[in-house]
């Protein structure tokens, strides 16, 4: 997949940063605003797709390694898996009555679980989707005759 014209490339260069930041914001603020890990991950994927379409598959392959994507997808899944028993442990350890309900520590703890699950979901889904997209880009490049 070759890159597109310099106009498209410059526009993509302008827009990509904003798209990426928006995706990260959506992924990390799912608890208090519309959004969540999955939506944020898909927006990050949109940023990558924009980059690949504008600059071509070769440029993207230098930045994103497929095996790195697989690793991040696995890490996200593991973090999600770790949060689940950690929540049980935290409930048993801190108990319902040992901390006053309005203590800042308890508030932080209460926000930490959903935030971690959301972010791990975003890492897992985002890395997986980006990896599959990159694999498709490479597969397309191999299958197509030389232009």
């Amino acid at each position: 997949m070759r890159g597109m014209s310099p106009i498209v490339q410059n526009m993509a260069r302008l827009v990509m940063g904003f798209v990426l930041i928006f995706g990260l914001y959506i992924a990390s603020s799912g608890q208090d605003a519309p959004g969540g890990g999955f939506a944020g991950a898909v927006i990050v994927l949109a940023c990558v797709v924009l980059g690949v379409l504008a600059f071509g598959g070769e440029a993207a392959k230098e930045l994103i390694a497929e095996h790195r994507c697989q690793m991040f997808a696995a890490v996200g899944a593991l973090v999600f898996l770790a949060v689940a028993p950690a929540g049980l442990w935290a409930v048993r350890y801190f108990g319902e009555n040992q901390l006053p309900a309005d203590s800042p520590f308890r508030q932080t703890l209460r926000h930490l679980g959903p935030l971690l699950t959301d972010l791990s979901l975003a890492v897992q889904v985002g890395a997986g989707l980006v990896g599959i997209f990159m694999a498709l880009v490479i597969a397309t490049r191999r299958a197509m005759p030389k232009e």
Binding site: A39, A46, G87, G113
Partner: protein, 193 residues
Amino acid sequence: MTVELLVLLLTAFMFLAALIAVETSDLLSAVICIGAAGFALCVIDLLVGAPDLTFPQVVVEVVTLVLLIRMIMTRQDTSRQTPRDTLRTAVVLAAGGVLLVVAFFAFGGLGAKGSVPPFGQPPMVQSDASLSAQYINGAQRDTGAGNAVMGILMEYRGYDMLGQAALIFAAILGGFVILRKVGRKRGESEDQA
């Protein structure tokens, strides 16, 4: 009532778009029709007050539309053309029309007494002691989340979410296995692969 009517109209539009996508012989028109159906679904999500669903839906629609159009521009269409079958189209159209009419009256359209609970009042919400009522009343207080949907998904139903994450992970692994560069064939030894 106005929301229901709009949702029904949009559903009819989506049905029509899907039908055109199946029946048209031009791949580009088919892709655009699929995109129209998807964006109609986004509008329905917004109408019924589910911006959480609209975000990923819009992005997925845009990405798939761009990818599919790119694919069609690059590849030649080598699929076999099937002759158009008027009877089949008519049967599908009639079935869809019957479905829409039944849905319209089931939801209490034109003042009919609907057998389905009124729009926006599912049966799980109606009694005060029900699980949904507890979720809705306690979500903000129990979880401290500003977004009650996320509070329910990530705290009350956290293990449900864990199952979904496992499912997505399995799907991603499957994608990687299919798309990997070096494939192992049955009967080959490890060092050959």
